[in-house]
Amino acid sequence: MATSGSRVLRGVAASPGIAVGKVYILELEELHIKEKNLTPEEVGPELTRFKAALATTRDEIEQVKDTIRQELGSEQAKVFDAHMQILDDVVAVEETVRVIREERKNAEFAYRRTLSKIAEEFDALEEEHFRSTAADVRDVKRRVIRHLLGKPRRSGADISGQVVLVAHDLTPSEAAFLTHDTVLGIATDSGGRTSHAAIMARARGIPAVVGLKYATLHVKQNDTLAVDGNRGLVEVHPDDQALTDYERRRIQYRELEGALQHIRELPAVTPDGRQIELSANIEMPEEAQLALDRGARGVGLFRTEFFYMKSARLPSEEEQYEAYRKVAELMHPYPVIIRTVDVGGDKFASYLGTERENNPFLGWRGIRFSLERTEIFKIQLRAIFRAATVGNVKLMFPMISSLDELRQANEICREVKDELRSKRVPFGDNCEVGIMAETPAAVFIADSLAREADFFSIGTNDLIQYTLAVDRGNEKIAHLYEPLHPAILRSIRTLVDTGHKHDIWVGVCGEMCGDPAGAVILLGLGLDEFSTSPYLLPEIKTIVRSVTYAEASELAQRALCLSTAAEVRRFVEEKIASRFPQIALP
């Protein structure tokens, strides 16, 4: 828990593990450049100096490429081929030469101005795969300017001891030099799970959180920073208590990793015999194996936005079918719950007609999109029903806020099945169809929904956001985002009780069940299934295996009687600390 002076920032969990250390801000070493006017006689030597810097940089990139090729393979090394071409790009070089020759400016000024402008022009692109070229341009720019300034040592070369690296972004070149010996953890403002920094950090076993937006604004050189690569959080200036907790969790994570072979085979069952279905949230088909390796007994949330966002075109039925089938086969006999596409909100693609909206989370997203673009919806449903022939596939609809939506969606499912039947295409007819329970409306009409859905999976992230009216991305109010708020506990209780009354199972696929205190409360509230990030599975399983259902229920019942979030949090944490000291609270 953040205390005064400390600050918790939320980003994307990019590489697992916990790290605490002194901050090293990579971009502090800004390359200072003075604009100089050359005399006509100086122009010739300046051009020679520029060409020499290009040649040195060429050698340097070649070396990095070789290192990366040997360590991570030629696929990862390809980006440096592109950097070499940016270095030698005719537009960039000729414009720099022109500025030196005609405007009679010094090489570093000319090159920086040219490349910065090019990078800014890429920044303005909307298509992410093309816009990201800006970072590569800046990477090359920095290399060349360093050589022009006679500072061949790259930023970060002066790291002594072990540090937590903080940067706006890590370029491929910077990421290539990160080693376990000097870098304990990584925190960056930008990037996602597939950015260079994330790939490199995972390959080298360095905990990393990316996409923090303002990490570089909130930390200074030598601050103490904790990086929780399992949950995607970093904490600046953690107090003594927090430091002790991070250290415990760091050791616990390493122990759990060491004992993974053993732990993953154990059932997720409380000492008094209550079984929890412990499954994983995945975003990409490749993550299914990771989930299995870490003891998942199924996929509780298979997000499918990836297929729609990876390029500017609709994913075909075959492409989706193949991906769903592979995951279903791999997981068999365990269930795979595929969530139909949830575009809109913060995920928009102009080819789908979804756009930046004034109020995106209350806008055209989730099932609202699918019910209007039924041709897109049907393709996905066909792929899911067909994949259901080979495994235990279930599907669920996101953002349901009325019974009409569920009925319409179910009706479209029937139409799709009829079409498949009439065309004699094999499909799984008994595929369970449930809903993500994530709007306050769904809580209030849970009884009607429960009659027509096969299960509820509570998406706590959105349920909290909508119920408390808090956008946790907004720093001014992020502290109001409180999973243990009485309104949330009561909503979850309603969903569980109503679901059970109608004989359907109720699970949780939000971050709340990946939090130790949250997991204990959810266990006590009677949830049947937890689905969380694959990296958190061993930790959550250990909690389930150490807390009796009877005690967790009592704790949950008493927590439900408290009136404020702070009271609940204090009560739950004290209880956990005294009753289950083995649980390390984040």
């Binding site: 081929d81 592109a82 537009v91 414009e95 022109r98 005609e102 090019i118 022009e121 795969h129 070229t133």
Partner: protein
């Protein structure tokens, strides 16, 4: 139009030398770059007119190909494209939506934002122009052999 403003490359066509043209300001003066002007300027390619220019344009070697790789010609595939183009003596240009760039400049090629499903025109001029165009077109059609 989506996010295309600002990224403007220019090809002068005839000479094959990409230079920066301050198109926005009106009078295009190759070689002069006002502060704040885009570096990656691009120009609209002249359509076939009359006389010598039209005859020259009719003779040019070019092919229209569809981009079939995901997510389009971005960093990696542009890198392959440019590397292949560099093998030829001929000058190479790539055009999309009426904007043409030097086919040997990776930054130019990426700036076209040639997404999956879009069509591009590959044109070459020089001793091995026919081979250049057919090799590059085949490369695009075969998803850059990725």
């Amino acid at each position: 139009m989506r996010g295309r403003s600002g990224l403007r490359f220019d090809s002068t066509g005839d000479s094959g030398v990409i230079c920066c043209v301050h198109v926005r300001a009106g009078a295009a003066t190759p070689g002069s770059l006002a502060p704040g002007a885009p570096v990656l300027d691009r120009n609209r390619r002249p359509g076939p007119g009359r006389g010598r220019e039209a005859r020259r344009l009719k003779k040019r070697v070019e092919r229209i190909v569809k981009v079939v790789n995901d997510p389009g010609i971005h960093l990696r595939s542009a890198s392959t494209f440019v590397k292949t183009a560099a093998h030829f003596k001929a000058d190479v240009w790539v055009m999309k939506d009426g904007v043409e760039v030097n086919g040997k400049s990776i930054l130019g090629v990426i700036s076209l934002v040639a997404e999956y499903g879009s069509s591009i025109t590959i044109r070459a001029k020089g001793t091995d122009e026919a081979e250049a165009v057919s090799t590059l077109a085949t490369l695009v059609e075969n998803r850059f052999y990725e």
